[in-house]
Symmetry: D2
Subunit: 337 residues, 4 copies
């Protein structure tokens, strides 16, 4: 329920209504705006109706939140949320580029890859210590040792680091070492993990599941938000379709759709979204053009030797070229790199 207060409503009136909402066992929300105060109430619709808030003299209107995702919706929260990873703000005027190799393979490999992406203008470093692999016989990451290397390289370069969390049992360690947690496509509906990461309060990059509808992505985000974590970044990374020419079908329709309905920042991962190195740069430009807040790109010092995702990882000079061609597009949509 969205409760819009009248223009001159006093802070006391707002507090009074919030208390009534809480007393009824519902979740109260306070959203002061520049022109008027908006309050929210989440919970059983029948209890909400029983409060008869429309009768309160300081209330202008009471209306339901139509979307099934409440906290993620712009209905309740019209202004863009800014999420901070390390010192870097996502969701504001700047277009952000997170880059790095698929996996932490060695200290040397990560140091070289990090230096390359930083030189070209990336604002954060990505690399996996825990890798989801379709086969139990694939390289599944170096685990805690990989995490430590990632932390060290983050400290050396000053780049905040983002890495995937796959199990609630690893949460404390990953949250200690990383600046932001990534929830991968295969875990988008791992609800236990969503709840745990929600409680951790760490910034999260939540990737869309391979067969998740956009609304399901927003409901997965709602799990994080409902657990008290508002530092959530959404990420489109391609969906699974009948097309076999590309690894996934990057669904850029989702970008304006999400930005129009949700206040959360939205990234695009053109590496997984295409699976083909030569398509990464054009799709990064398309992402910037249609309103994404940034991209997540795989860059490896030597993709031919990569232990995973080599075919979709950029060479450092290709990443430099991507950044060069991205700059005018970002300016064309009124943002900066």
């Amino acid at each position: 329920m969205i409760i819009v207060l009248k223009p001159g409503a006093s802070p006391e009136a707002a507090q009074n209504i919030l208390a009534r909402i809480a007393d009824a066992g519902l979740k109260p929300l306070h959203m002061p705006g520049s022109e008027r105060v908006v309050l929210g109430a989440l919970g059983d619709e029948r209890v909400l109706a029983g409060l008869s808030l429309e009768g309160d003299p300081s209330v202008e209107s009471v209306k339901p939140v139509l979307a099934p995702y409440k906290l993620a919706s712009r209905e309740l929260h019209p202004y863009d949320t800014i999420v901070r990873i390390g010192g870097v703000a996502f969701g504001g005027a700047a277009f952000r580029v997170i880059a790095g190799p698929c996996a932490v393979e060695s200290r040397e490999q990560l140091r070289n890859s990090a230096a390359a992406v930083q030189r070209s203008g990336a604002c954060a470093l990505r690399a996996g210590a825990y890798k989801p692999r379709t086969s139990p016989y694939g390289f599944s990451g170096h685990g805690p040792e990989g995490l430590q290397i990632l932390r060290d390289i983050g400290d050396e370069t000053g780049l905040p680091v983002v890495t995937e969390i796959m199990d609630t049992a690893d949460l404390d360690l990953v949250a200690e070492k990383a600046d932001a947690l990534q929830i991968g496509a295969r875990n988008m509906q791992n609800f236990a993990l969503l709840r745990a990461v929600g409680k951790s309060g760490k910034p999260v990059v939540l990737k869309r599941g391979m067969s998740a509808r956009i609304e399901e992505l927003l409901l997965a985000a709602e799990y994080l938000l409902a657990a008290g974590n508002d530092q959530v970044i959404l990420c489109e990374r391609g969906i699974r379709t009948f097309e076999t020419a590309t690894r996934n079908t990057l669904d850029l329709n989702a970008i304006p759709y999400l930005k129009q309905r949700s206040h959360l920042p939205v990234l695009v991962d053109p590496s997984h979204g295409t699976g083909i190195r030569d398509l990464v740069t054009p799709m990064a430009l398309a992402a910037a053009a249609c309103g994404a807040d940034g991209i997540l790109v795989e860059v490896h010092e030597n993709p031919a030797a990569a232990l995973s995702d080599g075919a979709q990882s950029l060479y450092p000079d290709q990443f430099q070229a991507l950044m060069d061609s991205l700059a005018p597009i970002v300016r064309a949509v009124g943002r900066q790199l």
Copy 2:
């Protein structure tokens, strides 16, 4: 690698080869057959080649396992695996029916539903204490209390009980209370959960992910098998396609495809596979006709009042009718109920 021994090869020769495999850091497998002994070796193909087992006098032939799933493949394990849940064998001549409500809602509801499915011939009881829900505001099950009710009703009726596990943190408790663990579609590639359940050794019903290719289902099973658990039942439950008339598209092609390539038992869930009550019985019959080892069906004492999946749950008399029409089909394919 599959190592076929010569007809008269001695047990000592087999042990000797297994020891060489283990010494090289590889995983040895022993599969004595009625006609000849087959050994297996899993691990780095180059190390395997270095063993030069084809030169051993008791070896007839050495050939690679072509499938990416090794332990799940019939290449290494040509005979059907029988999985036992409680005293009930799956994968043999009998066609098995597991039935029950989507969720444990109350002791009364489960007792009535269990009595109904037992009366009609179900051999095991299903019901969820932990429910994966797309929205954080949906009913997500009664947790430990629900588990205890499920255990109690299982003991009262003598029906073995199957229930979903969603988080490694719940494993000890769920494994203590249930006769078999179910891994749901959304967790088919939750690799931490697969590894933990694999180590537990409990019988598992592994459901195909909504957008998982058949090969990926077999590779998910491979995680369980590689962790030491050979009590794995596969379950087709519908995939996500463009069709909106039904909740999912039940992919029965997968049944003969799986049975031809894997030795594991295969069930079909026509409730989730259609999402429409009136389609459940015809698709249950189709499943039996094309070679499934059984079905998993949602039955509720009163679907109209169900807290979840009401539209696809059968009424007790509909379930009785399903069993009645299933019997001649099961006989027609040379099996029994």
Copy 3:
């Protein structure tokens, strides 16, 4: 609009209402049943409402047809339609098997293939003279010469023949030579072809498009029916999904869904629905179990030498085995072969 007459309504009253419907520029339908007469009226809903038929003393009730497909719906036409190809009835108690090679390759090949399928119990012969091919460089059929061979072999064996029509320009010739026309998946929404075939009045086998929803298949059938042709058989032949293990995903959910909502006969094509010879028989059995009225199967005297679809064509002895295993399933569902 469905107009149900009162039990004792006279034929004159029915004719009178039909005349009023026609006078208003609408399409009248007359459906006498064993218990009472049902009339139909198709056209602009506002004009229909203006007739105020509910006021007529012989009318019991007037209700809208809810489905967007009117003539194809059971709402207007509750009894099963029987379609006759040559002397063979589809949609009744018998389960029908149409078999033959993908294409007419030569007189010898078709004669041998026809003899084989007839020997095993097929009731009609299928073979293409015009073949839709993804590449312009593929074998696209022998055209008129192939048609004549098909007609001749049909006459020799007494089997009615079914063949694909791809272009309105070929309609006269194909309609003259074949006993039934097939509209292929790629042409399911070739509306000019649907209208022309509808006007021809020839029996039609209408295959579901690769990405057609079930409702769209029924609306394509509606084009045929609305053009005056009620001899329409629907055919599920697999849809396109992300699964790559099989050529298509056979959507058997569609069979009971269609049978419950439409009066038209429904066939299944397990050859295109799987694309893999070893899956054809199990899926044929599944089709019979879930309520299909028959199957359409590719059988070639020598699949290894087939010019098209060899991988999914059965050898004659495999087709004999299919028929042998089909018989008990067909009996189990209360039908005969």
Copy 4:
């Protein structure tokens, strides 16, 4: 087969080889380049091999065309093809915008809509006289009368006109009235239509089928090219996936994929690709950013009153805003509007 001639090869040598190719019953191709002459030969690979062209003294190398689409591939034709509709060139440095209503509804409606899109900078007018409709009861266009209105408004404004052709029987009339023919998604594999339009030589906009793989789109184009028509423009218009939030999933991955492999111009239709008015402009910008040669957009003088596709049609002022925001993106990728 691609035959690269030596740098100094004489025109007579080239003609001689082309004659040998033709004499062998194969299709010869002549592609003079700025640096050296390339010849092509299409047909049976064994006959080609028998010519032993590598032995000719003026031949430098002979290599196969790897793609299944030969004439559409850059392997045989490395330079961009320019297609002219009226006086307007597609595939060159300019980014082209074709706009107009879904259907010709009336002379007034088309005149107003055409004036609006011309004012904002569209270079061609689109509108359908024959409309493919899922239901036989939908508005299917005004046919010949609509074509004449389209021709007249094209003449009044000077805008070349593009319209859909759905049946070979209409070809002469549509080809006489329109400047370019559109083959719609549902007819992408209507091979009779492709062959007829190929022979007509008229410029064609070929839309990707709803479930067509990119390679299948190129093979459909190959039908047109093989019939002698090189005036082919490809158009991505969204594919059918499980996502229901949007009408289709616009597959922009296809744009760079097509541009890298084929020499044909590529357009994007963001109207059908999204089905939602508010997503059209962002996806038009994305299309320009990732390398499309232009867009095809639905604009109606009053979308609320449109007989078809109203929800995805832009209001004239929204189209003006689209053009305004497109301009800087087009410049950013080094092209002009």
